[in-house]
């Protein structure tokens, strides 16, 4: 057989925001993902999980510690490190691994921000070292987008709370040791919500695994609380101040999800370019057909525009601003870009894109979870419009 074209890597354009340290971290992440995740991604996805020791391996490179206070084992770093981490993880083409590996990035910020000293000491170092797993549980069978409507209750009983209710679609729900749970401690609406840290093994706490369209490597669960007794010391922040903490959490989550989606979209482009250079149809490489080249150009255009938007917002966040509306719009820009690129990638692969094991096939099954989780597209539009005063 004649020489095949060597596969190309499609790197993000040079960024004015990145220093030599950012690039060094990207290099570390690139090697980490290529050695520790990518070769196993397909197997882990098919098997429905990845080994627990990956958390410790991720702590070895500083991935888990990113953005948490140094006093509790974290590494304080600007948002561009988080973007690099999300986009390099995306190169494995297995969003489920990243979702569970990084579930503490939604579970722990409330603890780091508002938890008592004792709680921080007990929870943060162990999770940031990869020895314990943390998760966030807001969504319930009865409500998701409408966070203020949660029905799980926590009733004060002496030095404890008694928790009753259930949570669903919880990432790392099966394996988490610490779970930040939104509970109703007060009256109706957003003013009656608190965050409480539940722990594996508490009597009355059980879980059921959920099977999903994609993200198979991520354990997702419904959590059941049947009169679970939780020490009041596990309250995160003040009673009935939970809604504010939840909303604060969303900004970081959405920025990270947007970064991951753009990274996955870029991988779709890269995979398609490489496939189209090799695959021949009608006597020519697929990439020599104008229709296919135009698809690639349309993908690249959306990816680079989204990346520029992402980096500009990350810079604003770094300046201490809180561009809520823009982050909502960015998340949609990113998920719609992913949707477009995943579609065109699988289409360009033909049957080979429909067969399990191809990265583009996995990514195709991960489009909807990104467009639904962390704030659904419809909710993002509405929130952005309202924030802008419309």
């Amino acid at each position: 057989m004649p020489d095949r074209p060597a596969p190309l890597t499609i790197e993000p354009a040079p960024s004015p925001f990145l220093t030599a340290d950012h690039l060094a971290f990207r290099d570390t992440m690139r090697r980490f993902v290529a050695r520790e995740i990518e070769p196993f991604a397909s197997t882990w996805d098919e098997e429905g999980g990845f080994p627990r020791r990956l958390y410790e391996r991720a702590a070895d490179v500083g991935l888990l510690q990113l953005g948490f206070p140094a006093a509790y084992g974290g590494v304080e770093a600007d948002p561009f490190y988080g973007i690099i981490a999300a986009q390099e993880l995306a190169r494995a083409g297995c969003g489920g691994v990243a979702a569970s590996l990084l579930s503490h990035t939604i579970g722990l910020p409330p603890v780091a921000l508002a938890g008592s000293e004792a709680l921080k000491q007990r929870v943060l170092p162990a999770v940031l070292a990869g020895q314990r797993i943390a998760a966030l549980a807001i969504t319930e069978p009865g409500c998701g987008s409408d966070v203020a409507a949660i029905a799980t209750t926590a009733r004060r009983d002496g030095e404890d709370y008694i928790v009753n209710g259930s949570k669903t679609f919880i990432t790392s729900g099966m394996r988490a040791d610490f779970i930040t749970v939104a509970v109703r401690t007060g009256g109706e609406g957003r003013g009656g919500i608190s965050l409480l840290l539940l722990e594996a093994g508490m009597p009355g706490f059980s879980r059921t695994e959920l099977r999903k369209m994609g993200w198979w490597a991520s354990d997702t669960a419904t959590l059941h609380f049947d009169a679970v007794r939780v020490p009041a010391a596990n309250l995160i922040g003040r009673e009935n101040d939970g809604f504010r903490l939840i909303m604060h959490n969303f900004n970081r989550e959405r920025l990270g999800m947007a970064a991951g989606c753009i990274g996955s979209a870029r991988l779709c482009l890269e995979e398609t370019v490489n496939y189209a250079r090799m695959r021949r149809t009608f006597g020519r490489p697929l990439i020599a057909h104008q229709v296919v080249r135009h698809k690639l150009a349309d993908m690249a255009m959306r990816i680079e525009a989204s990346q520029a938007y992402l980096e500009q917002l990350a810079w604003q966040v770094m300046q201490g601003e809180n561009p809520v509306a823009s982050i909502c719009l960015l998340k949609n820009q990113a998920t719609l870009t992913l949707e477009f690129c995943a579609r065109e990638a699988v289409q360009s692969f033909g049957g080979a894109g429909y067969v399990r094991g191809a990265k583009v096939e996995r990514i195709y099954r991960e489009v909807r979870v990104n467009a639904i989780g962390g704030g659904a597209e419809e909710i993002m539009r509405d929130l952005a419009a309202r924030q802008m005063g419309w």
């Binding site: 057989m1 004649p2 020489d3 060597a6 890597t9 030599a20 340290d21 060094a24 971290f25 290099d27 570390t28 090697r31 980490f32 070895d60 490179v61 500083g62 991935l63 510690q65 990113l66 590494v75 770093a77 490190y81």
Partner: protein, 249 residues
């Protein structure tokens, strides 16, 4: 004991190199550069010796353009304590590198110098040996295991027939083979700490070395393209073609 580890900036091992149109070498403009993988193994071994308490300091040295400073940073992020950059735009060949390293060794007085057995760009496999000769130190090349006891070092070498262990008295030169260790990742906290570690910048002139090349490069050409395969109908035809076309039997 102080350890000296030379680290070379080379085209990243994932890059498929392209020959320059004029045959003067391979294209490096706009190409990702990294630390030579064998040098990563050398840094890892040095850092492990420090962690075991056998060594007290690890000094990383790089020779070449200013960007070699980033290669030193990588070594510092892996755990080296400080760096020395000998900055020059001159093309450096192994003999010049060995002379510069000798000058640094005379200043630093390390107990052990650990080098990669070769650099993946020109695959010379020469610098460690030349340096040993210039310094008059014993050498243990292609190391797959090293053990230091007192004033001696036992180096297990990968040779054609198997493994050979030599015992050298310190100070000595060791060059690393692939199986010596698996280098660690430069973690984010260590990347950040590395920024604060000192790098001293010197020049060949300051070290009293003339780095001018002694070898002239004639030309660099791409390897021949692989030919398309052929299907043969029978064993007899295969044997005939191996004799007449491939001329291998």
């Amino acid at each position: 004991m102080k350890l000296l580890v030379p680290v070379k900036r080379v085209v990243d091992y994932n890059v498929k190199v392209r020959v320059r149109a004029d045959g003067s070498g391979v294209e490096t403009a706009g190409v990702k550069m990294s630390m030579n993988p064998f040098d990563e193994i050398a840094v890892e071994e040095a850092v492990r010796l420090k962690e075991k308490g056998v060594a007290s300091e690890v000094v990383a040295v790089s020779l070449g353009v200013a960007a070699c400073g980033e290669t030193i940073r990588t070594a510092l992020a892996m755990g080296a304590d400080r760096g020395i950059l000998v900055e020059t735009d001159a093309e450096l060949q192994p003999l010049a590198v060995a002379k510069l390293l000798r000058a640094i060794a005379e200043r630093e007085k390390p107990g052990l110098i650990i080098l990669g057995k070769q650099a993946i760009d020109d695959d010379m496999n020469a610098t460690g040996q030349m340096l040993a000769a210039l310094l008059g130190w014993p050498q243990g090349t292609f190391a797959s295991k090293v053990e230091i006891a007192g004033e001696t070092i036992a180096v297990t070498r990968e040779i054609d027939g198997g493994l050979e262990t030599v015992s050298l008295s310190l100070p000595a030169i060791v060059t690393t083979d692939l199986r010596l260790n698996e280098p660690r990742y430069a973690s984010l906290p260590n990347i950040m700490k590395a920024r604060k570690k000192p790098i001293e910048t010197l020049t060949p002139a300051a070290l009293g070395v003339d780095p001018a090349p002694r070898l002239a490069l004639v030309t660099v050409v791409e390897p021949a393209k692989r030919q398309a395969g052929k299907k043969v109908g029978s064993v007899a035809e295969l044997v005939a073609k191996l004799k007449t076309e491939a001329k291998v039997i």
